[in-house]
Symmetry: C2
Subunit: 188 residues, 2 copies
DNA sequence: TTCATTTTTTAACATTTGTAAAAAAATTCG
DNA sequence: CGAATTTTTTTACAAATGTTAAAAAATGAA
């Protein structure tokens, strides 16, 4: 709960009243490893916050899955397409560990946005921050080799690499698992 | 002007009052080809709308520039980092043609967001739509070869390819210009 | 622990992409 | 128009990554 509060107010400052309106609607929920939070082709009707656990978002290719996002403690989780357009997303989101989440129903959140300007601006800021994070990743991939990206991941989130299997990380970096193995062997 | 109105209301429906508040602050401005709208390392203090023209966003690498975004008629233009965090961005944005833009000062826009809940939600939606577009591009790059991306670009925006020089498009696709030339020669 | 399963690493070879340099084509401007 | 400049294509070779398959290591369940 503490982490959730810290995250919410770091996005955009809220007066107590607005903050309470928001957290009153966020319900704790425990879910097991391998649980699919959002299924590709379906509309995800909730936004989650990761209090404890890891999630990954991936798309099904013809013969392979491609993981393009990891969520750790302190991250919000949503299918952008569902959240933003109310349309089926092309990604699935899966828990990689037994996790403790907070859940808020999408229609509840949208109603808060319509009625409370502070929360509307909070929602704006949330989307904006996601946008910046995604842009950074996008640009990093244009500039850096998979090898550089891996080294940085190792520095910035060593936990992530220990907790997530390499096949997922390889596809996240845009290379095959064989190539990632080669990269790793060069480092040690 | 017509295009601008259409775009604004397609982002999020606005009552006339809010719409007028917003467009009253958007000033037309003509700028020449090669004009730098936003300089990397500086804080961009405006958001632009492209009524006529093309822009590209790029980062300076050690020995090369990498173009990662093109804006066409109907697009909003901003340095995400500046717009969202008020911090210097790592990207520059350059006009590729003599262009007609509409400009709104960032502080004016932020003030509108704080005071008008419809506009706050409009701003939220704008960021959300940018987020979706970026996610689509991000995922496309994970899944598709440069060759497929080029073919799709050719289908979806043939104009773009005729109006923009290939070196920029190559870096946008994440390959060298030589590789893009090879791809093009295979198609015909 | 032990066996079965999953994950990671290694190897050999094929394919793709990059680099550097030159040629060809297109564009710009006096 | 025509020369100078810029952009695009082509070539030959080098380097990186993918593919397939097998071996090694790690993990999980009985």
């Amino acid at each position: 709960m503490e982490q959730l509060l810290k995250k919410i107010t770091s996005v955009y400052p809220l007066k107590n009243d607005s903050l309470n309106q928001l957290i009153a609607e966020m319900k704790p929920i425990e879910l097991p490893k391998h649980k699919i939070l959002v299924e590709a082709g379906q509309v995800g009707r909730s936004v989650y916050f990761i209090e404890k656990g890891i999630a990954r978002a991936y798309c099904e290719g013809k013969e392979n899955q491609i993981t393009f996002w990891f969520g750790l403690e302190g991250d919000f989780v949503f299918s952008y397409n569902s959240y933003i357009n109310g349309r089926p997303g092309y990604e699935s989101i899966e828990l990689l560990e037994n996790s403790l989440l907070y859940e808020i129903k999408d229609n509840v959140l949208q109603a808060l946005f319509r009625e409370n300007i502070e929360l509307a601006n909070w929602g704006r800021k949330l989307a904006e921050l996601e946008l910046i994070k995604l842009e950074e990743r996008y640009i990093a991939r244009l500039f850096k080799s998979a090898s550089e990206c891996y080294r940085e991941l190792l520095n910035s989130s060593p936990l992530l690499i220990r907790r997530i299997q390499l096949g997922y990380i390889a596809s996240y970096l845009g290379v095959t698992q064989v190539t990632l193995s080669r990269i790793r062997s060069e480092i040690r």
